[in-house]
């Protein structure tokens, strides 16, 4: 009969922890289930591809012909110049650049189009080869002239392992921000009352954010050492990488702390942080680039600041592109960090008002 009494105790425990249980047993599984939808397209079907005139004499008819041939497997985006299209390629706004030479519609000559992709965009390697084949087929069958499509790779071709390094580094920081930071705050909640009389909650979180953010230099350097040991020809640490990662970590840790203050350091707060972590993995374009997703999901990914962190870190590690190309991405990360700090302060005010 002791079993019945103990089972009844468990039921009573559930009643007192209903918020945490709802988050853990209902919200979390629902989020995880929906997150699986994110990975329904492993081969991109609507990846943005730049269509750009080879020079000023390329006529609109030729560009329209290429647009029409591309639209079945990609989303053609017109650019006025090759330089602008290449910038968009480096910024992962497009995943290939199709350069259209003049006179494609001219019956009397043979034309060669160029499809340029980046060697660092490993997941787009096979799809881009398929694109070349499809483009060749469609252009040759759709036009009376002889048109061929050549594939050009800019930058060094990378392995999947190298491609994963920036992703895993970002993921490590996410994991720390949304699991360890909430745990740390919860474990020190007993000291909070005294801190409030001897100092302030703002000073407490400022110290924690500063310390943990600087602590993130350790995984950055560790990843650098591992890539060196593995012999990867990449830039493991740079000012751009450090700035993008630390700004992003600051924002994530501030959000995690805000959740903990808003939930008064309860278990619910820790699970909510894990849900945010899952959400960022699923909807932040961490593993697959934004171009792999449907148009709506693409917009969601592009609304998540962490998406730009991954692009900057990937670029710095795997490409030879000037950092200035990402100035607006850095501005966005800075603004996000600032907004997260405002959210954190609001959560602290909310916490105080709850007393």
């Amino acid at each position: 009969m002791s079993l019945r009494a103990l089972l009844r105790k468990e039921l009573r425990w559930s009643k007192h922890n209903v918020a945490a249980l709802v988050v853990l047993l209902l919200v979390l599984p629902a989020t995880a289930g929906y997150a699986s939808v994110t990975f329904q397209h492993v081969i991109p079907q609507e990846a943005p591809v730049a269509v750009v005139p080879g020079d000023e004499t390329t006529d609109d008819g030729s560009l329209e012909l290429v647009d029409a041939a591309t639209v079945t497997f990609a989303q053609p985006v017109r650019y006025d110049s090759e330089a602008a299209a290449m910038d968009a390629l480096h910024r992962e706004e497009v995943y290939a650049v199709v350069t259209v030479p003049p006179g494609v519609l001219n019956d009397s000559r043979q034309s060669q189009l160029n499809l340029t992709v980046e060697g660092s965009m490993v997941l787009f390697d096979q799809p881009s080869r398929a694109m070349v084949s499809i483009l060749n087929y469609r252009l040759q069958s759709g036009a009376s002239t002889s048109i061929t499509v050549e594939r050009t790779v800019v930058g060094e071709s990378r392995s999947l392992s190298e491609y994963l390094i920036p992703i895993l580094l970002v993921a490590t920081l996410m994991l720390f921000a949304f699991t360890y930071v909430p745990y740390n705050l919860a474990s020190e909640s007993r000291a909070i009352q005294r801190i409030r009389t001897d100092s302030s909650l703002e000073s407490l979180v400022a110290a924690k954010l500063l310390y943990f953010t600087l602590l993130m230099l350790l995984p950055i350097v560790t990843f650098g050492l591992v890539t060196a040991a593995l012999g990867y020809a990449m830039t493991p640490v740079s000012a751009g990488i450090v700035a993008a990662l630390l700004l992003s970590f600051l924002a994530m840790a501030a959000v995690a702390m805000a959740i903990m203050f808003a939930t008064r350091f309860g278990t619910t707060g820790r699970f909510l942080s894990v849900i945010v972590l899952f959400g960022l993995v699923a909807f932040g374009g961490l593993i697959y680039p934004a171009g792999f997703f449907s148009p709506i999901r693409k917009e969601i990914v592009r609304a998540v600041p962490l998406h730009y962190t991954t692009i900057i870190v990937r670029s710095e590690m795997l490409k030879d592109v000037p950092l200035g190309l990402y100035a607006d991405y850095f501005a966005l990360l800075g603004a996000t960090a600032l907004a997260s700090l405002v959210v954190l302060e609001s959560a602290i005010v909310f916490y105080r008002r709850g007393d």
Binding site: S187, E188, R190, A191, Q193, R194, R196, T197, D198, D355
Partner: protein
């Protein structure tokens, strides 16, 4: 700025539960002021308001210019993961690095040197309380607010604490002790405020109450009388 530390017409409610109901109280320097009352009478809430940790629903808090306000909490408040010594270092720095001789004196009073290198989270209930009291005293506060400081203390440590508090108040500092253990505090208190169901039902100086035995009796009578009134009015 003022050195007055008081609450005026203070009310604090948590939804339908009124924890403190229209209380006026002024903290005096140089006395051991016992805030007595049974569990749930509103003592801890009142101390929380004085410390700025609890927002009043109504009323006013007059805070002193001095920021030297020390506290010990019902639930000891320190870093569990740090050792006793590390906790002392952290909170000493937050207190503006007070005189090390003073810190040594307080550590001696609460016999903390025996557990200096133990993790604070592993301390017994008694030592946890002693560490919390020590942390509250680090900045040699002008106003010392202690919530149930006698809980978990053994007889010897309790006697040392009471003797220390008596001397500390005699130096001109304000000492407010919230406790439901009136018997233990009776020999040292200079002023007794009795709370019951959020209201002050008695507030008087030792000389007005006249003697330890009288204090005990007055306390019990105040609670009983207040209970009758509640019953009658209810």
């Amino acid at each position: 700025m003022t050195e007055r530390f008081a609450v005026e017409n203070l009310t604090k409610d948590y939804g339908p539960v009124v924890a403190v109901d229209g209380v006026d109280l002024s903290i005096e320097p140089g006395v051991v002021h016992c805030l007595a009352g049974p569990n749930g009478s509103g003592k801890s809430t009142l101390l929380g308001v004085l410390l700025g940790l609890v927002r009043p629903t109504e009323g006013r808090v007059v805070r002193p210019a001095s920021d030297r306000i020390g506290a010990s909490f019902q639930e000891p408040a320190f870093y569990d993961d740090l050792t006793v010594r590390e906790n002392l270092d952290v909170f000493r720095a937050l207190a503006g690095d007070p005189d090390i001789e003073w810190v040594k004196e307080v550590v001696e009073v609460f016999k903390l040197s025996r557990v200096f290198h133990r993790r604070a989270g592993e301390l017994s209930g008694g030592y946890s309380k002693q560490l919390d009291l020590t942390l509250g005293l680090l900045k040699s506060p002008d106003f010392l607010l202690l919530d149930e400081p006698l809980a978990d203390l053994d007889d010897v440590t309790r006697e040392s604490l009471l003797e220390f508090l008596e001397g500390y108040a005699a130096e001109g500092n304000a000492v407010v002790v919230s406790s439901h253990r009136i018997d233990a505090l009776a020999p040292v208190l200079d002023r007794l405020t009795v709370m019951h169901e959020g209201e002050i039902v008695l507030d008087g100086r030792r000389e007005e109450i006249d003697g330890t035995e009288t204090i005990r009796r007055v306390y019990r009578e105040a609670i009983a009388e207040s209970g009758k009134e509640t019953e009658t009015s209810g």
